[in-house]
Point group: C2
Chain length 174, copies 2
DNA sequence: TGAACATTTCAAAACTTACAGAAAGAACGG
DNA sequence: CCGTTCTTTCTGTAAGTTTTGAAATGTTCA
């Protein structure tokens, strides 16, 4: 596939964004390519387009599938696997966020609870309190997040629109 | 400083979390140490406690300061710089989130706008639409985020508590 | 001013991660 | 059943980053 200037720019930027958030550059680029092309693409075409080894694409696609961000489809008269991603950005964001919660936040919650327990046993009062603050924060954060994940894009937009009023409504100050 | 088992566990975990989110392990560990110790700590003590080079600590502290996550204080009768971090986890989260927005989301918004502009010129209708969806998503995301950043920890907790009712209240479905 | 202490900068070493290419493994068609 | 096509796994190498230790710079106080 031949990329337009726009597409190149998008893919490169997305790749860089990935690296900043702990996601492999190639993985992010493959995802960007699937998103921007908006049709099922076979792995060798991805490899050629991005100028990376075919094997790399295979690994990247596998990882994307692990995040739920890519799915295999088939095209009539072609026995190669083709790959697609979602066109719904909010849905993709939810997938990634939920997965990161599972992989990173949940273990952190577990660690904090364990550490608090131990600090308690060992009589480390000050440290325990700090850990408790952190635990409380993460619990609030994930609860908030769970609320948001339930929302449709439209719902989210409305919440944002009325967001300013929201705080007053609930009687909570800045 | 001698670390207890609890403290070690916390610091190590925090370091790993850092790496997953694109933050240098040592930087995250230094931050964890400052947080858990809850008092001003001089750089050489940090180096010794974490068993990393003094220079490394210097760099890490500088980076933490760049995020607004560490500040210099002084202790009477000691002319070394001492370093502290906040005890308010929500405040720290806001700092990091705002900074990441500035460093990563804002450039992404700019890129998307530019790309849309160009796609428009070049008549790439399909690509342009996809980019527009993404732009819209990021704009909603940042707007939502800005609302949250205004909230106090207490306010946030209340929003979460009533969050379920919120959607009904606004008449927005799942 | 200069000795002692503190901090930062920098180049090189150590480590980690990403990648290409080779090889192995499946799936398919004849 | 064998050759072809497609996909995945494996391994050495390249690229990138982190970390160190030494040197340079800055600061303080006598």
């Amino acid at each position: 596939m031949n990329l337009t200037t726009t597409e190149k720019k998008f893919i490169l930027h997305w790749g860089e964004m990935g690296t900043r958030w702990g996601i492999n550059r190639t993985v992010a680029q493959v995802h960007a390519l699937l998103y921007i092309s908006g049709r099922p693409v076979p792995a060798d075409e991805i490899a050629e387009t991005l100028s990376v080894a075919r094997s790399n694409v295979s690994t990247s696609l596998r990882e994307l599938q692990g995040w739920g961000l890519a799915k295999v489809t088939h095209v009539l008269g072609d026995r190669r696997d083709h790959f697609e991603t979602f066109q719904d950005v909010w849905a993709m964001f939810k997938l990634v966020a939920q997965e990161r919660k599972r992989r990173e936040i949940d273990p952190t919650l577990a660690m904090l609870k364990e550490a608090i327990e131990q600090a308690n046993k060992d009589g480390e009062k000050a440290a325990r309190e700090r850990l408790e603050h952190m635990l409380e924060f993460f619990e609030t954060l994930t609860a908030t997040f769970d609320e948001f994940v339930k929302m449709s894009p439209g719902a989210l937009r409305k919440v944002v629109k009325y967001g300013g009023k929201l705080q007053k409504l609930l009687g909570v100050g800045t």
